[in-house]
Symmetry: C4
Subunit: 198 residues, 4 copies
């Protein structure tokens, strides 16, 4: 099975998720600026989730770029990742509507954690298909970002009950870490291409 | 007519269906964990339907993989399948919101049954275009899974009025049967490719 | 500009329209079969609109199949068609929710009429780019279906105020006429290919 | 990284945005024509936003047409543009539901302004990758439309508090300016192709 349709399907689901997020931003019935004020936490969480989904799309793109064939386990690992991503609008809406209260903030961290784990499983499924000496395995290397992210989410979940802004700070921090796309893979690929062209 | 645009359109519709499912999971207005409790049957049916739509996408992918040309009857059989899949969010929402009550559980089984029949019709349309000696016909073989599934759905519909958990157990069982993607086609294809390469 | 991205964008919009239609089918809060009864006109109009959108997708596919380059006028004619198609969920919901009352039925006919006119304009834009001796021009021929449909919609609009079932009968009739995909184009293309291969 | 998946993802998001716009057009519960009357400002803003999103899709298409490789900065500039486009349904709904009141009209202008700036940033990112002597840089030239549009939006925002119809007139004017697709790029490309073929 080629990867094209898997990419197309994932792109479809991710583009719907990123657009459905905005539906939590309910149109107010009043016309004044004051009507927008209660929306700002919803808007802020919308921006955060938009960036997260953008990062996932971006890294997903890089991850599949290096693969050619898609096995059944890759396919289900991919659906598993899409499942947790599909809960982003719910978690975002809950956190935003409740003005970053403790439990919704912890729940948001839980969804982030599960998506990170699902991404890790997908990565492992692709690496195990390509073998430990593959380009992707080399590109990922020690994968400190992939390991630090779930650890930070895991810390953020209980911290939400201390102060939910600490947790949100951690979510923003992790988003910042990943904002730079996975240059490791890009670099390894271009090194590889460079080597080939020599 | 090539199959590319049919695949793209089907991928689009299926990716929207799988994402729209989550909209039945309404964001609660309260912030406590207690607010999530009434959502669990909606969440559980969401997971089940997500897996079902994933299975359909997966098998649809395999089915079309082996075809090259798309006739008018294949096109309409495909739209017919998409029609029943499009009712998944409705059936899922009804069953989830009513805590797996008898009638919604039976209705869910009815939609599963109709989708299974639609898939069978699509399969027949593709096989009849390719002829009884085709690769796909050989791959499908006796098609016990394709025959057992509607039988189990058919049993689950009246059983919902006895105990709706029996029906849901059957739905989970069928999902489990199909979870393993249609390896018959994969196997036949790789055998075929192997033979060609010899 | 190639036609691929135009097709992809149109497929995206049409697949969302066909799936959004189902959102008008609101999940009832009660669990009994009686709760489904008031939904049947919504369901029936959903089926009708699903078939109409399916027909448009199908014919759109055939229409663009014969074109290679996309001019600005084709692009805007295409967006114009998508605009009227995007009003299908609204018109369907209004007609369904009001149990096929006179005004919503007439409004539904108006949307069908405008979509038919938009399709005609798109067809003309493509033919005028390819010239009157083109394959597509020959394939369309006298285009009796393309001319009969708006005439029937035009009749159905005032007739909705006499009896809305007459109008709905006409809508079903036109859908039936188009259900058979545009074989004229298929036939002309295969004749053309046949001639080339000789 | 190739541009295909970026185009596919952008097409997906833009096609969902253009279709989600229509969801603000709530189906009325009454059947009479009078029930449509309060909807006309929502409908009018829907038409305006549909045209705007259509223009963005069109120009986006032309912009990416001339690029081959996608760097990380192009990718994020593209997501930034999609972010502001994703707020169109919200801004459209707010303006339409409040009958073009001052603040929502100004907010609509703000979203238009931010989308125009985001488009400009994306254009710069692509030009800076291709170099100042590139085809795209030549095609864009002095870019008077790209500079006039934000200036007009900027004027429209405070003018909304004088008379919101002036602002809406300006929005319609800018849409009219862009309605003609970016022929500069088309012309430069065909000149280039012509030169090559000589």
């Amino acid at each position: 099975m080629g990867k094209n349709r898997l990419e197309a399907f994932s792109d479809g689901v991710i583009s719907i998720i990123i657009t459905i997020l905005v539906l939590e931003l309910k149109v107010p019935h009043e016309a004044g600026l004051a009507a927008l004020k209660p929306l700002w936490p919803v808007f802020a969480t919308y921006v955060l989730s938009f960036i997260y989904v953008g990062i996932y799309w971006n890294n997903h793109h890089h991850l599949l770029h290096s693969t050619q064939r898609v096995s059944a386990s890759i396919l289900w690992a991919n659906l598993h990742l899409l499942f947790w991503l599909s809960l982003f609008p719910f978690a975002t809406g809950w956190m935003g509507e409740n003005h970053v209260a403790a439990t919704p903030t912890a729940a948001y961290g839980f969804i982030l954690l599960m998506a990170a784990i699902a991404y890790y499983i997908l990565q492992r499924a692709i690496v195990s298909q390509q073998g430990p000496d593959s380009l992707l395995a080399a590109a990922i290397g020690r994968d400190w970002k992939g390991k630090a992210s779930p650890a930070l989410y895991l810390a953020a979940i209980p911290l939400a009950f201390v102060n939910s802004w600490i947790s949100n700070g951690l979510y923003i921090l992790v988003a910042g870490l990943w904002f730079v796309p996975d240059r490791r893979i890009e670099r390894a690929l271009s090194r590889h291409n460079g080597a080939e062209h020599r």
